[in-house]
Subunit: 399 residues, 2 copies
């Protein structure tokens, strides 16, 4: 798809806004009831839908529940199956760590091992973030010849390890066995080219074990999702748009950074995010706005709160519409039904507003009405090409 | 898809008709209004829809606006992304030039250069077709050792160059810089294997420049879309159908020829095209009828004329239906909304009539009703397999 789009991309003065309410899609709590979005009062979304076109976005493929990484890559127009982001990289993005292209990142856990080195608690009693911070400070003393070592706290028992300057491949297995009753695994290279990296990881673990051996309960570490950031061609190169991200949470800023977006200071609330959009309106062609709280409420299983979050999201839309974007897309990166307290695979309502829309008969924004929308059900990765088309930014393919 | 279909293809006595109204899909001029097709009185299409099944055809992929080449290859069952046709080949097809598989074709422009060789008019003042014909006659004198040279007029400042007998690869860059104020580019080979072809092209340009140097305003040429026709397996080989094309415009005959169709003399009007169908009914299994004027009206931005063209198209359908085709598909190769005065990416209404249809609830043929059609929204390349299936021409896949 990128190979198809790149030679067709046209630069013009149009503006595209992609407003993502994280985990927007939902489910009725009881059969016959409304979803969170259908229950919410969303006059702005309903008005937009009535004049434009909507449908349902399939984040990856039917039945596949995406994490935030693939969910957003799809929305940014990149095939989430072709561009996979490891857990280590995602964790680094999530703390605003500015990963360089060659950095090897891993997600770390403090854990508890017994006298025989067998794991008895994979999360070291869920130690506090404060306690972990002190342990991380100790691990930051580790030096490994040939590479620069970064250890950064995340939350509670979680940390990020980054090795900078490792030149070899980094296909190295997790050392977290995923269960208690066994010792941590060796960091095993999955191919000969990754041996040197596996050895560097091994050195880090040995030194960490030595430093932590008298701590309790966090007397050992495990590592997961070891790898580099995937090589993703930047949006400006592929689509010819100067793209900016307005996101409160670091992970979404990090995902935006991966595709070459400029990160704008969003303030701390959705209202401040839309203010930031107004301030920077002249500076970019494409804006990604990320609203987090719908997903958080869904994960807490709080149907009512998710509903209110959707209403808050809806309330600020006039500030976006006023700016006169040529194309406005509103959708989510995946569903997070309060009923399931988790991300899900269900298609996500999507609305596309543009002058060249072919209208459908949908008059309100919800999972059920969107089933009859003019966009049909389509993979998320096609939304960006559609946005470019409606913005007059795609030339004809073939003569 | 072709690899899947080919071993399943069955030959039988059935007849399939694919009737293409070019650029059929449209848009409302004003929000809430009808599209061209919805505004047109189409009793024949409506009657067919009521008894059969319809949907929307996505010419290439969401957001991708196809030229006539990819638009038609999709309808002929070939993936338009896998089989790409260069502009030179398309231009040659457009003048009924019978390209041989190894011919290298290029689209030529007469242009005007100043004393320093800088382009000051890329179209040589849009010289008349008559004037161009004289210039082409001069260029036809060019001889290049080792190849046969064909130069053919197209219209106004446009011509086609064909080199026959060039054996090397033909990945050669355009010499048209796409703007004025700079000299024409050198014909640069994109790989070492194409060097010999680039040199042949260079010889042609040098000789053309010498011949034209005292002409005004057409004192130079540029070339674009240099290349060979793509290797496309013929329809008879893949689908087992003897296929014929009935098209008034040369380009569509040329596209049909690319996939191995026999070209029938269509006469000059849609009524004569349907007459030709009747005359040749016994001689072929598959008929492609191409109606051009819907697209032309759309490109002129003439909503009313496009509407009347659709009505003319509709009026002749009984003559097709009377012949009793086992499968009749009516659709377009892409949308050409009068509102946009151009091809567009919007899905195209499609109707499939066959005895084995599973009916839907649609009762009139239009963009909005087709949203609820039984075919859903599907890529154009799947229409031909569907037609074969309904014609009893596809065996079961797998045991």
């Amino acid at each position: 798809m990128l190979d198809l789009i790149k030679p067709l991309a046209i630069r013009n003065q149009s503006k595209i806004v992609l407003a993502v309410a994280d985990g927007l899609g939902g489910l009725p709590i009881e059969r016959g009831g409304p979803t969170e979005l259908e229950a919410a009062a969303t006059p702005q979304l309903d008005a937009l839908v009535a004049d434009n076109v909507c449908g349902l976005s399939i984040p990856v493929l039917p039945g596949i529940t995406p994490g935030s990484g693939p969910g957003h890559l799809g929305l940014f127009g990149y095939d989430p199956l072709q561009h996979q982001i490891g857990r280590g990289v995602l964790e680094a993005l999530g703390i605003d760590f500015e990963l360089q292209p060659n950095d090897v990142a891993a997600r770390g856990n403090f854990c508890t091992v017994d006298a025989d080195g067998v794991i008895i608690d994979r999360r070291a009693g869920r130690i506090s973030s404060e306690a972990a911070r002190e342990l991380v400070a100790k691990l930051q003393q580790i030096r490994i010849p040939g590479v620069e070592v970064f250890v950064e706290p995340v939350r509670e028992y979680r940390f990020v390890l980054v090795l900078r300057g490792a030149e070899a491949a980094a296909d190295v297995d997790d050392t977290d066995p995923g269960r208690t009753g066994v010792p941590p695994l060796e960091p095993r290279a999955r191919n000969p080219e990754s041996e040197p990296t596996a050895q560097l990881i091994g050195q880090f673990i040995a030194k960490a074990a030595e430093i932590l051996k008298d701590d309790h309960p966090a007397n050992m570490v495990t590592l997961r999702g070891i790898g580099r950031r995937p090589p993703i061609p930047p949006m400006e190169e592929v689509y010819g748009v100067r793209a900016a991200a307005i996101a409160v949470y670091p992970m979404y800023r990090g995902l935006a950074r991966l595709v070459g977006m400029t990160i704008l200071d969003p303030g701390a609330s959705w209202a401040e995010q839309t203010e930031a959009l107004r301030r920077h309106w002249q500076d970019f062609d494409f804006f990604f706005l990320h609203y987090k709280y719908t997903d958080a409420a869904g994960e807490d299983g709080d149907f009512q709160r998710k509903m209110r979050c959707i209403e808050e999201f809806d309330g600020q839309l006039p500030k976006i519409v006023e700016l006169g974007p040529d194309v406005l897309i509103v959708t989510g990166d995946h569903s997070t039904p309060a009923k399931l307290r988790n991300h899900s695979w269900h298609p996500v309502p999507v609305l596309l507003a543009a002058d060249s829309c072919r209208p459908d008969e949908v008059r309100s924004f919800g999972e059920l009405p969107c089933l009859r929308g003019g966009l049909g059900q389509l993979e998320a990765k096609y939304l960006l090409p559609l946005a470019l088309a409606h913005a007059g930014r795609l030339a004809k393919f073939g003569a």
